[in-house]
């Protein structure tokens, strides 16, 4: 499983776009880049997943360069309710387990 590295914390203001970058230098061919969100005392929630280029859904966009050694989660126009921990993972292959790091604590201020 690829090891991922992301900033410990980020601050933002309501209405801003937030970009959280994750590095995964040893990502394998079978690995997908996946982001989860976790609010305090709740289970993680899947946000978005991609393999390469750009993926967009109703919540976020995920940008993955051609070498796949990094990825960027983009949250458009954040609100206070987006304050949470965001985890970058690279699951795939034969294993089902998710390996969570410490994630990025995003604090959105008014």
């Amino acid at each position: 499983l690829a090891k991922t590295t992301q900033p410990i914390s980020m601050d933002s203001y309501e209405g801003q776009e937030v970009n959280i970058t994750c590095s995964h230098n040893n990502i394998a061919t079978n690995d997908y880049i996946t982001w989860y969100q976790q609010f305090p005392s709740q289970g993680p929630r899947f946000i978005i997943q991609g393999y390469k280029t750009k993926v967009t859904n109703e919540v976020a966009s995920l940008f993955i360069p051609a070498d796949r050694k990094s990825s960027t989660l983009s949250l458009p126009r954040v609100s206070l309710s987006d304050t949470a921990v965001y985890y970058c993972l690279a699951p795939g292959g034969a294993t089902n387990k998710l390996i969570f790091g410490t994630g990025t604590l995003l604090a959105v201020q008014p």
């Binding site: 005392s41 709740q42 929630r45 985890y87 089902n96 969570f100």
Partner: protein, 114 residues
């Protein structure tokens, strides 16, 4: 929208007692998981379960832990003799497929061992 449910939401027990944490995964999912999160720490994988048997487990999942799917809907985690360090949030999750597909997490059970 279908969701994973867990009971109880909070369990308090004495050290050495057995506890059973219960989960109802999403009905058409085939893969089931338990994770735990000690307060202030990372979410840690415990075990994955498919086709009525454990498919993968972590070093945390020792002989004190067991999982079972007693019927077509429930998935349980049993801790035989709880220790203080078992105090944590325990999350159940399920997925349709394997290989990194989206896992749906339940709200968790907060286990407090006194």
């Amino acid at each position: 929208e279908p969701e994973v449910t867990q009971t109880p939401s909070h369990q308090v027990t004495q050290m050495g007692q057995e506890v059973i944490l219960r989960c109802v995964p999403i009905s058409n999912h085939l893969y089931f998981y338990w994770y735990r999160q000690i307060l202030g720490q990372k979410v840690e994988f415990l075990v994955s379960f498919y086709n009525n048997e454990i498919s993968e487990k972590s070093e945390i999942f020792d002989d004190q832990f067991s999982v079972e799917r007693p019927d077509g809907s429930n998935f349980t985690l049993k801790i035989r003799s709880t220790k203080l360090e078992d105090s944590a949030m325990y999350f159940c999750a399920s997925s349709e497929r394997t290989g990194g597909t989206e896992q749906f997490f339940g709200p968790g059970t907060r286990l407090t061992v006194l």
